[in-house]
């Protein structure tokens, strides 16, 4: 309950900044922690499907799938973030993301353990990640959100999926 009260206080403080739009983030589980990506970048959520391995690809690139005729690479997000590999199960899903890169827009899928929920946050709520030791590359993180009782790591899709191949 304390967490909810805290949010209420927060909202009172923000009263004069009501027009600041709240961003929506899609949160998901990865190795016990909660992460989230900008929901506007999520094209669709798919059940995990077998992919075609690509020679010379980094370990975190799972392979290629056919997305309605387009060839789309799938990134294992655990491995991309340097976490331990886990076998896929019924809860495993692939989020198809729109990625904005220097060379143009790409469509790339990421495999996560399970989908959680849609959370709302704003810049005030998203604390600077430099204060935390997240064990993952800071460049991939755009902030930390306080979602009630737990902390959610907000990922920057464009740096996260700027694959160094």
């Amino acid at each position: 309950m304390t967490a909810i009260e805290a949010t209420d206080v927060k909202e009172l403080e923000d009263l004069d900044e009501q027009d600041v739009p709240k961003a929506e983030w899609l949160s998901f589980k990865l190795a016990g922690l909660d992460y989230a990506v900008d929901i506007l970048r999520v094209q669709e959520i798919r059940v995990w499907q077998a992919s075609t391995r690509i020679p010379y690809s980094p370990a975190y690139v799972n392979g290629l799938i056919n997305l309605r005729g387009a060839i789309v690479p799938i990134v294992d997000l655990r491995l991309r973030l340097g976490l331990d590999y886990r076998d896929y199960d019924a809860e495993t899903v692939t989020l198809i993301m729109d990625v904005v890169l220097n060379e143009g827009n790409k469509t790339i899928g990421i495999v996560v353990d399970a989908i959680s929920e849609v959370i709302q946050t704003d810049t005030d709520n998203a604390q600077l990640s430099a204060d935390f030791d997240l064990t993952i590359d800071q460049a991939y993180v755009s902030g930390i959100a306080d979602d009630g009782e737990k902390m959610v790591i907000l990922l920057n899709v464009d740096t996260l999926l700027d694959l160094d191949i």
Partner: protein
Amino acid sequence: MSDPLERFRAVFFDESAEAIDAIERNLLDVDDASTMDAETINDIFRSAHSLKGGSATFGMGSLTEFTHVMETLLDKVRSGQLRISQEILDCLFSSLDVLRNLVAHYQFDDAINQAGMQRVKTELEHLLAPPSSGQMVAANSPETSDVPAGPAGSEWLIEFAPDPGIMMTGNDPLRYIDELAELGDISVTCKTSAIPDFEQLDPTHIYCLWQISLKSENSVSEEDLKDVFMWIEDEAEFQFTPINNPEDVASPAPVIPEPVIPPSEEPSPPVSATEQELAQPENPQPQDASVPVKSKAKRAAQSIRVDLEKIDSLINLLGELVITQSMLSIYGDEEKYPQFERLSEGLSQLERHTRDLQEGVMRIRMLPIDFCFSRFPRMVRDLSKQLDKSIAVQIIGENTEVDKTVIEELNDPLVHLVRNSVDHGLEDRSTRLAKGKPETGTVTLKAFHQVGNIIIEIADDGAGLNTERIKAKAIEKGVIKANANLTEQAIHELIFAPGFSTAEAVTDLSGRGVGMDVVKRNIRALGGTIDVRSIADEGTTFTIRLPLTLAILDGQLLKVGQETYIIPMLSIIESIQLKPEDINKVGNRDVSFKWRGNFIPILNLAALFGCQVDHQQLVETGLVVVVESDGKQCGILVSELNNHQQVVVKSLEANYAKVQGLSGATILGDGSVALIIDVGAIISRVRMH
């Protein structure tokens, strides 16, 4: 002039003269199809529109009909459904003459030049037709019943008698009728005779049955209809009756007095108008009414419009058929199954037919580049007449097949490049003779496939690019600094710079074309590149390289371990079976084998690509695909050879990156992704080792 209507007619004639002049002015102001702005198009549209409105008011049918077609085309351009192109501009120019003639007909009783009008009208309709679907026909039908409809599709009579309790499963019969309407135009009759008296009526029951007649431009199969009702196949009675379209039977191609134009040829450009008219007189003019029938017949012979989605789903289905066929083909092994001799004969026939069928279906999407090339001899001839130059056109590789979409996009850039060669590249007769060159210059159009690319070359044997003039112009235009130190090649490439135009004086010819920068942009939009090579007094060659993104490749499917790869058939010489002892080893490595008297290296694809595979088993299987590139051969060890089929090549770069040794990927019949091997690249790796 006592009749008040007559007075308004006079006003209308003044207005129409103004409107036609306004269209002409606007068209003349446009010197570059690609930079034509919305305002200009709107102006032209408005003029055509007011002509149409006025002529309809005064009962000037022919003028109304003609301006209607013009207006429809302009509206498409205005709304962005059609891209303005040189042909459209040319056709609008020719429309002016028709408009003036028609106005003169109503004003002064001049004779209508039927042939001229019909030709331009057909051309307008032709420009209108390709990208539009049923929409245009629907928009036209109320007022111009004589605009030819698309080729006849299917017509069905459907009886749909749902079980009384159908609503109890949440199904609404009307929903399915709506869904039928997505297949084409429907008219629905509801039979209510089974509705009981009010006292017996259960409001949750359906007592109606429906008769629906469906008319579609596309072909609709019984399967399509059954698909619509899939969810309720057990909850209703159906009867699907195909109806023969009486029009199909009653409209054989009428005798056409005009010379028959070969199907691949574009409608004649405006320059030819006089020729055609001169050819006419001895033939009786076709009457108004017969004209649309003629153009309908002609168009039907050329093509039918099919939704690309339908073709793609057909391709996918065939992919599955091919897989089934290859599954069956193991029973065709006569040594293993001697008792199935007849079966094996049938199977090999099945295989052949399946392959032919697949090839045919894949080809639907592909068109020979001739569709694009064939217009040029005529165009160059007309241009050379105007310029008083002697120019021959040479076409090579016109049968090279290219995806339909690419052909459409290539048209404008190629027109510009050819115009450019004719206008600026090739010298006139005397200059050529003075240089000791043959009097007749040549423009060569060439198309061919090269690993991973389609190459199109437009070459001339003219004067070559004028390096000094380009440099001076680039400095003048501020494209480069005056002290810039550039190689000759770099200077030549400046012609692609935005804001650069080589023509010293804007001639009548290239004046209305697009700029080189636009050409480059168009090619790049297709994922391709364009290069120029030019040697003074020898000529200029533009090379367009397009990736295989949309192209199709004849590929051999094979497995290494569990992974499926595709090798282009063009790179394969043969597939052979070796015994382990045929393979020469150096230490642990398999190095080479003897093939046609020579030792050729073995390429360990599994190791190269990191495939999980039991190497010993691979050697014991001894299945080797002998491939060749640039005169070098090597043998690739594979676990399994599957069927070969045509595949649609997709780029890996679009969402991923270029991968060494691969030229792309494709989607197989089962929906999975398979990678396509770039044989040239992997062979060059073998050489390095």
